[in-house]
Subunit: 312 residues, 2 copies
């Protein structure tokens, strides 16, 4: 299983598989392209939730309970903010804040998000590359019955409760992919592209909405393998199922595969979804996909790579 | 000693007397106008060091050793920032960060610095009003042998080591005073204006460089009392003496009094400076001015008010 691999990932669920891939591949063989449609500014600080979750997960610093944030976190900032009557709907740990501060400083000094992220992952001792999908802002917005919401307003402040009628990835059409992401996808030695089991609408959707990123994946000769985020029609975590239903989609793994039909060669679904119909030309692989333990992550990563690297 | 009193203050030294004044005056009788020439943005957060020191000091939250920052502080943010290779020359505690975040949020929402500061002091249970000298940015800059430096670069990062040739208060000429500060100075019931023992060049200088603030003090019929920051030609803390010398001034209390000559009625100097020459029309009062204990602060505050309120 040598040769570079590119993974497309959102936050928690995707990061689990990314960690598995990082552990079963040789050091440095993995490049993770991260969704930045969730990025926002809070208190003047630039926050990239999916990149941050990937950084903490791959650095083995992630909080194992929550999936986001750091496990060695302290909370004096939030506690004081509450005492001051400040906005506390987005949890920011004291150590997590340092990441945002350093990102803020380096962006203000003229570095790109790609450069800043690369510096951060090196500081944290991560061998895999983590790249934003774009250095330009792309912002996922959701139309609900009470109007358009910014992503974090919907996702964190309102806990995904509003019914979503439409999703837009503002800025995606005009955004150029991160040059490093394009280079990774154009690498003739590339062995596979893995679409992690992230929310197809909120995490993978923004990436595929960037025209040059989508076309680079379509053009790529390496196999593209997507892993289903749904198991038996239910999401492991997060609003994937609820969103699909609200948008009139079938709530099952087959629907996810159809959404990726023009991109993928292999679709990895859970054993609970054995026998689902695949679009023409796509190979279905079923295997246990629930990643509770580190061993689960490594096993699924190995399986995904094996299927991707074998003749189709 | 009833009736409103206005104090002009910088950070640590001035805040000590401001605390004494707050404690000997009836609750709410004191308004402190704070220097904002030291304000800067760090990591995208707006920081107002002198306002912050006043807030913490008057809320009885100040670190008694350092004078700045909070005594109940934790340092996870700085520790992590150091691990990330970030800029750690300006110490920001985890709890202190919450103040800057809340300020950032409220300024971004359109509040003025006067409004934000008033909300913060209320949240912290401070009865005295704390007002920025202006809602417009005024930035103290220092010309050294290696060029112009921003204030915090000079003061914190370079520990006041560069030799200063010239000081400018960028933006002061065009800045309007905080409307609340002007209103406090125009209050016909005003009993006294106290210029705290702050650095005359770095802390009081920026305030007096705002034309409408200076003229409001000149016009005011209440007595103006300045307290010397120098004792026997030495500063209690900070670069006052070094700076005065570098700028070719005499390094003594009399020089400070001359600098305030067109504004003040009474000059309070330490007993060590008994007999110094005063400009015409200014009454010299000598009393112990070193404020080591809380009792010292209250005693000096009482003395200053007594001298200011008695017939000159």
């Amino acid at each position: 299983m040598s040769g570079p691999v590119v993974a497309l990932s959102g936050g928690i669920g995707g990061a689990k598989l990314a960690l598995g891939l990082a552990r079963v591949l040789p050091p440095g063989a993995l490049t993770v392209i991260a969704n930045t449609g969730d990025d926002f500014e809070h208190f003047g600080l630039p926050i990239s939730p999916d990149i941050d979750t990937l950084l903490y997960t791959l650095a083995d610093l992630a909080d194992p309970q929550q999936g986001w944030g750091r496990r060695d976190e302290t909370w004096s900032f939030m506690e004081t903010l509450r005492q001051l009557g400040g906005e506390t709907w987005f949890a920011l740990g004291d150590r997590d804040l340092a990441l945002h501060a350093e990102r803020s400083r380096r962006l203000a000094a003229g570095a790109t998000l790609t450069e800043v992220t690369d510096q951060l992952r090196r500081s944290l001792g991560i061998a895999s590359r983590i790249l934003p999908m774009s250095d330009a802002p792309v912002r996922t917005r959701l139309r609900t019955d009470s109007g358009w919401l910014d992503f974090q307003d919907y996702f964190v402040r309102q806990r995904c409760e509003p019914v979503v009628r439409e999703i837009r990835y503002a800025g995606a059409e005009a955004a150029a992919p991160s040059p490093a992401a394009l280079a990774a996808l154009a690498d003739p030695a590339l062995r596979a592209i893995v679409i992690c089991p992230s929310n197809p609408l909120l995490s993978v959707g923004p990436m595929l909405a960037i025209p040059a990123l989508r076309s680079a994946i379509v053009r790529c000769r390496a196999p593209v393998i997507a892993v289903s985020p749904l198991i038996g029609g239910r999401a492991v975590k997060g609003p994937t199922a609820k969103l699909m239903q609200e948008l009139g989609l079938a709530v099952d793994a087959a629907e996810v595969a159809r959404g990726y039909a023009d991109l993928i060669d292999v679709f990895v679904a859970d054993v609970a979804d054995a026998g689902i119909a695949m679009p023409r030309g796509i190979t279905l692989v079923t295997t246990p996909t629930l990643m509770s333990t580190l061993a689960d992550r490594e096993r699924l990563a190995t399986e995904v790579l094996k299927r991707g690297l074998s003749p189709l």
